[in-house]
Symmetry: C2
DNA sequence: ATAGTGTCTCGAGTAGCTAGAGGTTCAAGA
DNA sequence: TCTTGAACCTCTAGCTACTCGAGACACTAT
């Protein structure tokens, strides 16, 4: 049996994060030692590693919750799993597309800066006036997290 | 003078967001009408449009606060402005690089799914075992928000 | 025995808003 | 003039996915 610290080290997840996952029901409540400390078995390590890996790939916790639920029913068809992964792929592609636009706009902006005074600064100028932009880099301020 | 609603429409910013910006000191406290409603002049519209545009380009509010402070001192050298913009460009490039890795990993994952049962699902398998991955798609779970 | 590290719970803080409750003000139509 | 409905006000809480701190208890090594 592992303590929470060892489990964290094994799965490369910080201790408070593990407690957080338990709190929101992503991990089941852990067994406790006589001194009330959490104890974990092999299953918990697998599950936590799964979560960690999915997080690395940018899956939101809700999607991970669904994936975990599905992986607990091995005899079901895997369409649902597939569509979650595809949705994540689409989301990632969308973010990339948007960031590429931002990148080129920022490059243009930075390249135009001649290094003079703020008064003549192209960066400030461009930020103040959308009309300077090459493209419509997003009318929407979407919340795009990693 | 504009009411908060008209200001919001003009700058494409939602009303609660404007109040939020005032609350965190990004916008100065607005004048009030006799009935205690906020009133804005031309300057406020410029400033809010600046903020909105910078947000579209992914600048965090703290950076925008700095940019606004700098744009209020037109006779200073614009090095600081330039370095904020360059930092933002670097951040965007970093996010793109990371997302491209995620994308290829997700594509591999999705492509391998044969559409059978969860038991044989490559998606679940790959998520459960990092060793299946082509690349190290990030040991770190950075908070990358756009 | 004691020092030092690990663990416990609980609450608050992060970014950047967004939504809701419950109340006031304003502009336009009857 | 009255009334309706939209827009406005303040305040609080919620969202994601954690992260940190306080103050107290547990465990390990010397």
């Amino acid at each position: 049996m592992l303590t929470i610290g060892k489990l964290g080290k094994s799965a490369h997840v910080k201790v408070p994060t593990i407690r957080y996952y338990e709190q929101i029901g992503l991990l089941p409540e852990a067994e406790r030692s006589s001194g009330n400390q959490r104890l974990y078995g092999r299953g918990a390590l697998d599950r936590l590693s799964f979560i960690r890996h999915a997080r690395e790939l940018g899956f939101p916790l809700d999607a991970i919750r669904d994936l975990l639920g599905l992986s607990d029913r091995p005899d079901q068809p895997c369409d649902a799993v597939d569509s979650i992964a595809k949705a994540q792929l689409l989301a990632v592609e969308g973010r990339i597309a948007r960031l590429l636009m931002l990148k080129s706009e920022l490059e243009r902006m930075v390249a135009q800066c001649a290094g003079g005074r703020v008064e003549d600064c192209r960066v400030i100028e461009v930020l103040g006036n959308h009309a300077h932009c090459a493209a419509e880099h997003g009318r929407d301020l979407q919340q795009v997290s990693e």
